[in-house]
C-alpha cells in the first residue's frame, strides 16, 4: 500500500503534469512546484477522494491570513501529508 506521501506526490505529478523527480517531501506546492489555485483545486479534489476526507482548506487559508501559521504548514508536502494523516485518523475515531 502506497504511503500518504507517495499517493500525494503521484496526484500532484498526474494532476499538474510535474515530473515525479522534481517532487520531494520538502517541496512547497506553490513556491517550489508552481501549483496555482486552479490546479490546487484538482489536487484537493483528488486527495479528498483518495483518502475519503475533506481537507479544511478554508480554515487553513484563514490560519495563514491571520498569521497564526505560515504556508509551509500546509503546502510543504511532508507537512501536508502529516495533516492528511491527522484527518484520516480523526475520521476513523
Amino acid at each position: 500500500m502506497a504511503s500518504t506521501y507517495e499517493t500525494v506526490a503521484g496526484i500532484i505529478s498526474d494532476t499538474c503534469d510535474i515530473e515525479p523527480g522534481k517532487i520531494t517531501p520538502e517541496s512547497h506546492a506553490i513556491n517550489d512546484l508552481g501549483i496555482d489555485s486552479l490546479d490546487f483545486l484538482d489536487v484537493a479534489f483528488a486527495i479528498d477522494k483518495a483518502f475519503g476526507i475533506k481537507m479544511p482548506l478554508e480554515q487553513w487559508t484563514q490560519d495563514v491570513n491571520a498569521g497564526t501559521v505560515t504556508t509551509d504548514e500546509y503546502f510543504v508536502l511532508k507537512n501536508l501529508c502529516a495533516n492528511i494523516d491527522k484527518l484520516v485518523a480523526a475520521k476513523s475515531v
Binding site: 486552479l38 483545486l41 484538482d42 484537493a44 479534489f45 479528498d48 477522494k49 475533506k54 481537507m55 479544511p56 482548506l57 478554508e58 480554515q59 487559508t61
Partner: protein, 157 residues
C-alpha cells in the same frame, strides 16, 4: 431563458437537497441575437451556453446546500460532451448531482435532456466563496425567488 442576460434557468422543477440532486426547466427562446451569429441560416444553441445551463443548474443546487450564504463560481469544466444540436424553441430538462463538497469548492455532474434524450453532459467544478458584495447577493436571492428556490434554502442570505 434570456440568453443575453445569461439567465439560463427558468424554473427549478425538483430539488432534493439531502439527496444532493436538482432538476431545472430551461426554455430556449425562439429568437435571440445569439442565433443571428450562431449560425446564419442555421441557428443552434452554442455549446458554451449549454455548459452554462449545466453550470447554473448545479450552481443552484450548491446555493441551496449553502442556503444562499455562499456563491458558487464556475472554475472548471471536465468531460463536457455536446451530443446533439439544440434548436431555438426547444424545451430543455437539465439536472445536476453533487458528487463532492470540498472545503471552498464543489463538484457536480450535470446533464441536459430533450424529450428524455441526453444532449449534453459535463462535470462542473465550482469555487464556493462568500458573496463579494451585497448587490450580487440581492440579485441572486431575487432570481432564486423567481425560479422557485424554496424559501427555506434562502435563509442564509
Amino acid at each position: 431563458m434570456r440568453l443575453e442576460y445569461f439567465q439560463m434557468v427558468d424554473r427549478i422543477v425538483t430539488l432534493d437537497v439531502s439527496g444532493r440532486r436538482i432538476a431545472t426547466a430551461c426554455q430556449v427562446p425562439e429568437r435571440s441575437p445569439v442565433f443571428e451569429g450562431h449560425f446564419p441560416g442555421y441557428p443552434i444553441l452554442p455549446g458554451v451556453l449549454m455548459i452554462e445551463i449545466m453550470a447554473q443548474t448545479g450552481g443552484w443546487l450548491v446555493l441551496a446546500t449553502q442556503r444562499c450564504a455562499k456563491m458558487p463560481f464556475l472554475m472548471q469544466v471536465e468531460k463536457a460532451k455536446m451530443r446533439a444540436f439544440v434548436a431555438p424553441g426547444q424545451a430543455l430538462d437539465a439536472n445536476a448531482t453533487l458528487v463532492h463538497e470540498g472545503s471552498g469548492y464543489a463538484v457536480a455532474k450535470a446533464h441536459i435532456k430533450v424529450g428524455g434524450k441526453t444532449v449534453a453532459e459535463a462535470e462542473i467544478r465550482y469555487g464556493v466563496v462568500s458573496f463579494p458584495n451585497e448587490t450580487l447577493k440581492a440579485a441572486m436571492v431575487e432570481t432564486a425567488r423567481r425560479i422557485g428556490l424554496p424559501e427555506e434554502f434562502q435563509n442564509g442570505a
